[in-house]
């Protein structure tokens, strides 16, 4: 195969490549429209020691693929490189100076930019991914700002594959402004170049609209009725809820529950337990929809049956919907469907019949001639397993066995499917013999779907569940292999929720693109948007929140740009967006690995930053106590910064509620205890990073900068987990019985990982821990079969 991929680019890819080469731009692609080939050709042209191109946070699978291809490429003069934390900081600069294409994580890049380990002015260009998530507080924004400040000639490009997200509240414009991109290029499926290309290499598509059986229709009705019921109830409890969003049509959508949770999060604490329960129930009911279409009659009955109110356990939390007529019907219908004495009479999944026909059609076509591959695209592993059994043993015995297994624990059902090993093969065949030439692809957004399809080399594809991403990917796959036939069987239940969902997905994407095209036409692009010259406001630093009395000093500050106040920031905190906001607000950051606190503002002020989730976690684990203790012992003004996030609302009650009694398990009580034990500790309650930045400025006013040298000496002495070890693994290790902060290192030094400990004998564990009791506790924890109580579903 030719390694010069330029020749094999499709026409739209050539056009997109041209765009990339000329502009600083945001490239937006529709669902399933691939761009790795564009990127490969593009990066090839920069694989030269005289250039330095940084690909920031490239999606993992694509990064691997690009690394491999670029290494093999004949056009690339220097092989691509990856910048990891394993490259010692002192060697980092040399590494960058070797040039070519380098893949890097955003955290490493931002720190190296700040520490001037990277020659910023020598960077030829930066490529960003997943641009639809870029906001004012993103690390990408921070990187772009640092880069553009010192480098006016290099380019910036960004990719996004999520037009819907990008179309939300000016997201596209926001992203372009923050990344200094004056242009946007849109590549929807309906773009002339793309549709022409697909038209030219058409797939043979067999659309099978399968009618639901009468029982299924009725069941679907019941489920929709139940959703109606629950939503009406919720609406009663929360009259303020947006009625456009809160409708059943939306509720059948794929990510509805997640977006519902998002809408409700800010007011979650004000909801009563009944409302909360109802919201959970909406999730359960909407899942029933999928299960109705995916599972066999037997399995579906089992699911519904489990929901039945079972006296004691449910009585405390009465779910009104379980007493509706619709639920009664749901129960009885699903029961009728399976209550036949013989398996032959049980209703078959209509798609099974279709599959049977398709498979025999394929078989007949290929009677003579070389075997051709068939690919099943399914939405879950469970479906794949069902199909395998069905192909192996036929439909009746599959059902019969399922029927039997409802009386037995689930394990038996899966017994004949060998536990999949890590080999490529069983991941795709699910234990089906090689001779069937059948592979499975479980619906998932593989970044490198094209490579995957190529390796599976299918002639026939059966799309068991309608999925836009797969349809598009197959179209693109066909374009890439002109002359090779590809037949797609597209299975969809007529007038079903899955059909509706598919159509919604299509129209939503179309709408998003249409609006983006409109926006592109009307967008205001500032002449200095690329930040290369002039005074782009994005590059200005300074504290907008400063009160009028500070204006004077700010003026003088701008005169000597070097006089920004300095803050020491713990390296690990660069995952958050606070450093970016601090920098923008006019503080110079000194990244450092510090063991006490996250931010050191002055020689006396040390701040531990906690998001609410961290706060809850570290209070429970005792880590916060240790951190406060260390801070109070070392600094005169230790502070705990509690940082809320806008999405979840500014209220502690949202997270913990308010109890009637005073209990130690409540967040408020634990904060009280912290305050009682550390009277010196001050609390900062911040609603956003911007508030925090403004408070930091206040705290630093007129104070000295921190003494970097002094911090270093502090850090060595009082670490909780020695830096010799990996924190997250040791944290897990510390949860084990018999393991304490005093003896964990004995284990961590003797054994490689937790897996190895689990295989070790009691005697050996006791020997390593130098304690018989602890060794026994640890061993028993791993090997004990506790009285098998069923999980409470």
């Amino acid at each position: 195969m030719s390694t010069d991929s330029k020749t094999s680019l499709l026409s739209y890819e050539k056009q997109a490549l041209m765009d990339l080469l000329t502009d600083d731009c945001l490239v937006v692609l529709g669902e399933g429209i691939t761009y790795q080939n564009i990127l490969l050709s593009y990066l090839e042209s920069y694989s030269d020691p005289g250039t330095l191109l940084l690909a920031v946070e490239c999606p993992e699978e694509m990064e691997e693929w690009l690394l491999e291809r670029l290494t093999l490429s004949e056009t690339a003069v220097v092989p691509p490189k990856k910048v990891t934390s394993e490259i010692h900081v002192e060697k980092r600069t040399d590494h960058y100076l070797q040039g070519g294409v380098q893949f890097i994580s955003k955290r490493i890049l931002v720190i190296d930019l700040l520490c001037k380990r990277i020659p910023t002015e020598l960077i030829t260009g930066i490529v960003f991914f997943n641009a639809h998530y870029v906001r004012d507080t993103s690390i990408e924004t921070f990187i772009a700002r640092l880069y553009r400040t010192d480098n006016k000639t290099g380019f910036i490009k960004a990719f996004s594959t999520n037009p819907i997200q990008l179309n939300k509240v000016n997201q596209a414009e926001t992203c372009m402004r923050h990344l200094f991109l004056p242009r946007i290029h849109l590549w929807p499926r309906f773009h002339a170049n793309i549709s022409e290309c697909i038209e030219k290499h058409k797939c043979e598509v067999v659309e099978l609209h399968i009618p639901l059986t009468d029982v299924m229709k009725n069941l679907q009705m019941c489920i929709i009725d139940l959703l109606h019921f629950c939503m009406k109830e919720v609406k009663k409890h929360i009259p303020s809820l947006d009625s456009d969003f809160f409708v059943v049509e939306n509720a059948v959508g794929k990510d509805y529950f997640r977006s519902l949770k998002k809408v409700l999060n800010p007011i979650w604490s004000h909801l009563g337990p009944n409302t909360k329960q109802l919201v959970q129930d909406i999730k359960i009911i909407s899942q029933l929809n999928n299960q109705l279409l995916q599972c066999s009659a037997v399995r579906f009955y089992e699911v519904v049956h489990k929901l039945k109110p079972t006296g004691a356990s449910r009585s405390s939390n009465v779910c009104l919907w379980m007493f509706t007529e619709a639920f009664g019907r749901l129960l009885s219908l699903s029961k009728e469907r399976v209550e036949q004495k013989e398996a032959e009479k049980i209703e078959l999944s209509p798609k099974w019949e279709a599959i049977q026909e398709i498979l025999s059609e394929i078989k007949a076509e290929n009677k003579n001639g070389p075997p051709k591959n068939t690919l099943f695209c399914v939405s879950s592993y469970a479906t794949a397993k069902q199909i395998v059994k069905f192909i192996k043993y036929g439909e009746v015995s599959t059902l019969a066995e399922e029927l039997l297994s409802t009386q037995r624990p689930q394990k038996d059902l899966q017994a004949d499917i060998p536990p999949s090993e890590e080999t490529e093969d069983s991941r795709t065949t699910f234990g089906l013999e090689e001779s069937h030439n059948i592979r499975f692809l479980v619906e998932k957004k593989y970044t490198m779907i094209q490579e995957y399809l190529t390796s599976l080399n299918p002639t026939y594809v059966i799309l068991h569940d309608p999925d836009l991403f797969m349809v598009r990917s197959l179209e693109m796959f066909r374009c890439r292999r002109p002359g090779k036939p590809l037949r797609i069987y597209f299975l969809v239940y007529d007038n079903s929720i899955e059909e509706q969902r598919y159509l919604t997905q299509l129209s939503e994407e179309k709408k998003a693109f249409e609006q983006l095209i409109m926006m592109k036409g009307n967008m205001t692009v500032y002449t200095d948007q690329d930040g290369r010259e002039g005074t782009n406001a994005m590059l200005e630093r300074g504290h907008q929140g400063l009160k009028f009395k500070d204006l004077e000093s700010q003026d003088s500050r701008q005169n000597h740009a070097k006089s920004f106040p300095k803050v020491v920031v713990d390296m690990r905190d660069f995952r958050s967006s606070l450093p970016s906001i601090l920098h923008k607000s006019g503080m110079d950051l000194i990244p450092k690995t510090i063991e006490i606190g996250d931010y050191i503002l002055t020689p006396d002020i040390c701040i531990e930053r906690k998001s609410i989730v961290d706060l809850i976690g570290s209070l429970a684990s005792g880590r916060l106590f240790q951190q406060c203790q260390a801070m109070c012992n070392t600094y005169r003004h230790p502070m705990l910064l509690i940082e809320f996030d806008e999405a979840n609302g500014f209220s502690l009650q949202n997270y913990s509620g308010v109890t009637d009694a005073v209990v130690t398990s409540s967040l408020q009580t634990q904060l009280t205890l912290i305050t009682l034990h550390f009277p010196k500790l001050r609390m900062i309650w911040s609603q956003s990073e911007y508030t925090t930045a403004s408070i930091f400025h206040e705290l630093k006013k007129g104070k000295e900068d921190p003494d970097v040298g002094a911090i270093e000496t502090v850090s060595k002495e009082s670490s909780i987990i020695s830096s010799e070890f990996n924190h997250s693994v040791v944290n897990t290790l510390l949860q084990l019985p018999g393991v304490t902060s005093k003896n964990y290192f004995l284990l961590a030094r003797k054994f490689a990982n937790i897996l190895e400990i689990s295989k070790t004998s009691q005697e050996r564990l006791s020997e390593v821990l130098q304690n018989k009791e602890e060794g026994r506790a640890l061993f028993e924890f791993f090997n004990q079969v506790e009285n098998k109580s069923k999980p409470d579903d």
């Binding site: 999949s420 500014f650 506790e786």
Partner: protein, 209 residues
């Protein structure tokens, strides 16, 4: 001083100027006595006191709190400024009061309802002499407690997953040794979570450097 000895009573001493504060009816877990001669609003222990401020009030009477703090002086060791957040755009107010609290050596506590505010005051009284054990990582030392702690320390794993894993595999050893495919086949545990679980058990303890 006379006041100190009276402070060590079992009750929360409430200044008479607090009468009518909607948080008072929520004080049900401690005894409350009123006095008209204390400097803070609430005396919660021998060395603990609190000043209460509603943001709504603060907006109307911005000078009030400064005057109160001046009067309070330097007494007490644990000094609380308890704010009730009862206005929508509270950021600027809180920012200002954060500074005030720092300058006057007070610790800021925020409550979003009278009930929550009452709970703070009660907790300060009730746990006046509580040793720090609760904060040093209360560990559930039962088998189930360890199991939950062990598995939920992996990012994304919740207690339902723990129950699933346990019932599927039987022993912890089998969970640790399970392959990725079998983990991801469990309901509720997707490929990503399975990958994280699988990886963590195999990740070396030691850092490479």
């Amino acid at each position: 001083k006379a006041e100190i000895s009276q402070n060590s009573s079992a009750a929360v001493i409430v200044s008479t100027r607090q009468r009518g504060n909607p948080l008072l009816p929520h004080m049900r877990n401690v005894i409350v006595t009123y006095r008209d001669d204390i400097l803070p609003d609430y005396v919660l222990g021998a060395n603990t006191c609190a000043i209460f401020l509603s943001l709504k009030y603060h907006r109307l009477h911005p000078d009030y709190i400064y005057e109160r703090l001046r009067q309070l002086g330097k007494g007490y060791i644990v000094r609380i400024l308890l704010l009730q957040v009862d206005i929508p755009d509270s950021a600027i107010c809180i920012e200002e009061l954060t500074k005030v609290a720092l300058l006057s050596s007070l610790t800021l506590m925020l409550a979003w309802s009278p009930a929550e505010a009452a709970r703070y005051l009660e907790a300060f009284k009730i746990y006046e002499n509580k040793p720090p054990e609760v904060l040093q990582g209360i560990k559930d030392t039962s088998y189930q407690g360890h199991l939950n702690g062990f598995l939920t320390s992996i990012r994304g794993v919740n207690k339902t997953d723990v129950a699933r894993l346990k019932s599927e595999f039987g022993t912890v050893k089998d969970i640790v040794q399970a392959d990725k495919g079998r983990l991801s086949a469990l309901p509720g545990i997707g490929e990503k979570k399975a990958g994280r679980i699988h990886e963590l058990f195999r990740q070396p303890f030691r850092n490479l450097k």
